[in-house]
């Protein structure tokens, strides 16, 4: 069901908390993890950090790709939703900070927009979520 999984990250702790869930959905489906970072001014060097993360995911055997979207004229939610439409994504995974899901520099409103714009379901992972190994239980692989 989740062949194309988008993980929206801004390298925050909240976004990081959602990664294991995105990762497991992809591992189970044998699909693709699209790591999307949306920012207009990459002052903190977050893009490089996220790129490295994508590299590590690939090394771990995950079919992961990196996408930088947005820009000064585009709101993060729009950019992420547009990507989801273009990729025919099955789910967008985001972290939350307890006061609303976060997918960029703005708290709350971005997700409100994303939930309105997204062409697919959105998996919101709260920060206090306890990660359980085998959350999406991997079944015997019947496809090679």
């Amino acid at each position: 069901m989740f062949r194309t999984v988008i993980w929206a990250t801004d390298a925050s702790e909240a976004a990081e908390a959602a990664l294991p869930f995105a990762r497991e959905l992809v591992q189970e489906s044998g699909g693709t993890l699209v790591v999307v970072y949306s920012n207009d001014a990459d002052e903190l060097g977050l893009e490089a950090r996220i790129q490295l993360q994508v590299h590590e995911l690939r090394q771990a055997g995950i079919d992961a790709t990196f996408k930088l979207v947005g820009g000064t004229a585009v709101e993060p939610a729009h950019a992420i939703a547009d990507l989801a439409i273009a990729l025919d994504a099955d789910v967008i995974v985001v972290g939350t900070r307890g006061h609303g899901p976060v997918v960029g520099v703005v708290v709350g409103s971005v997700t409100q927009q994303l939930l309105h714009l997204a062409p697919c379901p959105v998996l919101a992972v709260p920060p206090a979520t306890r990660w359980l190994e085998g959350w999406a239980r991997t079944r015997a692989l019947t496809t090679a």
């Binding site: 939930l115 062409p119 998996l123 306890r130 959350w135 999406a136 239980r137």
Partner: protein, 151 residues
């Protein structure tokens, strides 16, 4: 995933959540549990003079069970086992508490429910669940078309 909690109030948005949640349960070979929350009290319209609205305790009726019956029926059609539970009280709070009590791996909700203002981007119950939950919440968009049975 072993257990997927699916919230439904019978609204079109909730029915999308039911469909998606059941597809997911089938794929994960997980147990689906439906939950619906009836309000503890209801406000009666009062036409008499010098009287404010009257709040009375809500009595659980078949009407309250209907969204759950529909959902379980749908699950059975798909050959899935599903449980259901009617709760009473503040919806978001009750759903989150119940999810904790059954240790649900995931809460599936529609983006809107009954009574949501149409211009609202996210129903108040869905938003409340998002804020209170300590486990992943899958928000299913209302506009999503049910997936056709495919290979």
């Amino acid at each position: 995933m072993k257990r997927i909690l699916i919230a439904t109030d019978g609204s079109p948005s909730a029915l999308q959540a039911v469909e998606f949640g059941l597809e997911l349960a089938a794929e994960q070979e997980a147990e689906a549990v439906f939950v619906h929350v009836a309000l503890r009290t209801e406000v009666l319209p009062v036409s008499g003079f010098a009287m404010g609205p009257v709040t009375v305790p809500h009595e659980v009726t078949d009407h309250d069970m209907e969204p759950l019956h529909e959902a379980v029926e749908r699950a059975n059609e798909m050959g899935l086992r599903a449980g259901s539970r009617l709760l009473v009280g503040e919806p978001a709070k009750k759903i989150v508490e119940y999810a904790d009590s059954i240790d649900a791996d995931l809460i599936v909700v529609g983006s809107r429910g009954h009574g949501a203002i149409s211009s609202a981007l996210l129903g108040s119950v869905s938003r409340g669940i998002l804020h209170a939950a300590k486990r992943p919440v899958l928000i299913v968009r209302e506009t999503r078309q049910p997936v056709e049975a495919a290979a």
